[in-house]
Symmetry: C2
Subunit: 116 residues, 2 copies
């Protein structure tokens, strides 16, 4: 098989009791909230409803037993959201976890299939 044309693909995520705790979707959502400074602006940017975005965050918080967002209510700017230190660490850890799997996927694929 001409492996030069072939690409290994992978997906990773974290579960607790068969339910998603964290994965690419939530990484994207948290990163966008950090960038936009609010859940509603992030949801809009990702073409999600506010309810869906908030539901995912809420579910992850419950499964992790940790807060991911610090919510500022009201004020002249209409409130906003920032990431907790835990959320920032989670993002960093998940990203290095993913990077390592990506690296291994690529190198293992080359090694395993080079003689096929």
């Amino acid at each position: 098989m001409a492996i030069s044309e072939m690409k290994p693909r992978f997906k990773v995520w974290i579960e607790k009791n068969d339910e998603v705790v964290f994965g690419d979707g939530r990484l994207k959502l948290l990163t966008e909230i950090e960038k936009q400074g609010s859940i509603s602006a992030a949801a809009k940017e990702l073409s999600m409803s506010y309810r869906a975005a908030w539901g995912k965050i809420k579910a992850s918080e419950e499964r992790l037993g940790k807060k991911l967002l610090i919510i500022q209510k009201g004020g002249s700017s209409g409130g906003g959201a920032t990431l907790t230190p835990f959320a920032k660490k989670l993002i960093g850890n998940y990203q290095s976890f993913k990077d390592k799997i990506q690296e291994t996927t690529k190198s293992t694929f080359q090694k395993t299939f080079k003689q096929s």
Copy 2:
């Protein structure tokens, strides 16, 4: 985060020009064809239509540029299918590729998240 309750999950597959060449679905299908000795029996066992099963095999064969099945037509047993040596090697390679990613996913997860 209490990582003892958390489980890293992963999925791998192989693509060529953004189309699936091989993955868990096709592994299952080929393994079942080998077991059953025919495409139609395997498709039935996996609750797929014959057309869907054959379509997947055909697409993989085209993208790989290699035959995966040896088809015996007709005869008193109504024909059958066996795996080519290439298909057997592909299955073995894909399985070791997957095993290695699984191992790395598990160990990297433990290492990365143990202090969270």
